[in-house]
């Protein structure tokens, strides 16, 4: 029970990396399936498909960054974990939540938009830039969540 604060903080880091990572895996998977469908018929579009498939992968990276910063703030990476009260731990947990939740959902939805964009370039490959823009717009909310999580993690008193 003494380490409950630390437990909550680590749980927050795990959620940020875990949920954003799962979301990205699903998003990249959905876009990848659509990409494979297109490449079966038009293998020459590999480069364009690859960019669209990568886009939902960024949320996993953001989650990883938040987790690293959080673990660094609580001293776990340096090898001397801070003694956190349970309320401090919960605060760190809460700080990681925007990235975990927004990361998961934005990655899945970005994957869907990317898959639709793949279907769009299947019919007309000159529309790739528009497809990328549509997919990238979903990213905005993952970036906002990343900023909120980073600001929160840096401003929690330890």
């Amino acid at each position: 029970m003494n380490n409950l604060g630390l437990f909550f903080a680590i749980l927050g880091a795990a959620f940020a990396a875990g949920f954003a990572g799962i979301g990205s895996a699903r998003g990249v998977g959905i876009a990848g399936e659509a990409g494979a469908g297109l490449l079966t018929e038009k293998p020459e579009l590999f480069g364009k498909v690859l960019i669209l498939q990568i886009l939902p992968g960024t949320q996993g990276l953001y989650g990883f960054i938040v987790a690293l910063l959080l673990l660094n703030r609580i001293g776990l990476i340096g090898g001397t974990p801070a003694m956190l009260t349970w309320s401090q731990g919960l605060t760190f947990f809460a700080a990681a939540m925007p990235m975990a939740i927004a990361g998961y959902f934005s990655a899945v939805y970005q994957g869907r938009v990317a898959a639709s964009a793949v279907s769009m370039i299947a019919k007309d490959s000159s529309q790739t830039a528009k497809g990328m823009t549509l997919s990238a717009l979903v990213e905005t909310y993952a970036v906002l969540a990343l900023l909120v999580s980073i600001l929160a993690v840096f401003n929690i008193a330890v």
Partner: protein
């Protein structure tokens, strides 16, 4: 099943759709003087990678390719069943006729079909209709028994056609996919309209009409039957109040105009899936579009073939 499971299949189908013949291609195709040049043009357009050189082979190869693509792409193969429902019922008709006349059935199989063609012959010889036609076995057995007892081809055809219409209507009612549901409804409704109009034109009686017209989705079956019994004018008057009024007017002119209207309207309905990326409907849409393309190419090639033959004959006669 998750809708995202369709991502692969829809992207592949969209890519295949972009390779379909354009209006310009059709205009060029119509301009060829002989089938050799026309088939070579189709090959350039990616129609067939094989060395098929006669019309029938080119057409059947393209149909095979279409079915192969759908089979490879669709996550749940059972869903493809709806696309070959009409072929399955046609095969029942052919099987019953072949059994009665001791004709080999293999030459009359309409592809694609959900039936296991390899086992079909054995099962038919054993008169095991349920093994041969699975969920359509009851219809096949009833049609066969009727044909044996009554020796009436028309009664047999009514049973099978009615079962096909009911099957499509029920399938459309139960499927979640809105566009596919509309497509099924359209097919069952237009089939009913065709039957009703033919019954009126050939002066069929009330019991025949009642037996022949199947389940309707966007039409009222009762009204359709009642108006068909009353006669041509009443039937046209009723159809004029439905979504099929444009088609019915064309039927008055010629049956082929009505068929053309049905094809175009079917594609229009199926094309409602053009904004969908995660469902079965884009597959359904592509299937009907490609089938219409194949049908049109077949027609053009046949005309070119007939024309070039007549020119050759004329040349020989002149010589």
């Amino acid at each position: 099943m998750r809708d995202t499971n369709y991502a692969y299949c829809v992207a592949r189908v969209r890519a295949a759709e972009s390779k379909m013949l354009s209006e310009d291609d059709f205009s060029r195709l119509k301009g060829f003087k002989n089938t050799f040049e026309a088939i070579r043009f189709l090959k350039e357009k990616g129609w067939t990678s094989s060395d098929k050189d006669n019309i029938r082979e080119v057409i059947s190869f393209e149909k095979e390719n279409l079915w192969k693509l759908l089979n490879e792409s669709v996550p749940d193969k059972n869903e493809l069943g709806v696309l070959c429902t009409l072929n399955d019922f046609f095969n029942i008709k052919a099987a019953v006729k072949c059994l009665l006349t001791d004709t080999p059935f293999e030459n009359y199989i309409m592809m694609p079909t959900t039936l296991d063609v390899a086992l079909l012959k054995d099962n038919l010889l054993k008169r095991d209709f349920y093994a041969a036609f699975k969920d359509k076995g009851e219809t096949a057995e009833k049609a066969y028994n009727t044909a044996v007892k009554s020796e009436s081809g028309q009664s047999t055809e009514i049973i099978i056609d009615r079962a096909a219409i009911d099957y499509m209507a029920r399938y459309g009612e139960n499927i979640d996919d809105k566009v596919t549901s509309k497509v099924c409804s359209f097919i069952s409704d237009t089939s009913n309209i065709k039957i009703a109009l033919r019954c009126v034109l050939t002066g069929k009686d009330e019991s025949f009409i009642n037996e022949a017209i199947g389940l309707c989705r966007s039409l009222s079956r009762e009204k359709l039957v009642a108006s068909a019994i009353k006669g041509k004018d009443e039937l046209y008057a009723y159809l004029d109040t439905t979504a099929y009024k444009d088609g019915a007017k064309l039927f008055e002119k010629s049956f082929s105009d009505f068929e053309k209207w049905c094809d175009e309207r079917l594609i229009e309905i199926a094309s409602e899936s053009r904004y969908t990326s995660f469902s079965f409907s884009p597959v359904c849409c592509y299937y009907y579009k490609k089938l219409t393309e194949i049908k049109n190419v077949n027609m053009i090639l046949s005309i070119i073939s007939a024309f070039s033959e007549s020119v050759e004959r004329q040349g020989e006669a002149d010589v």
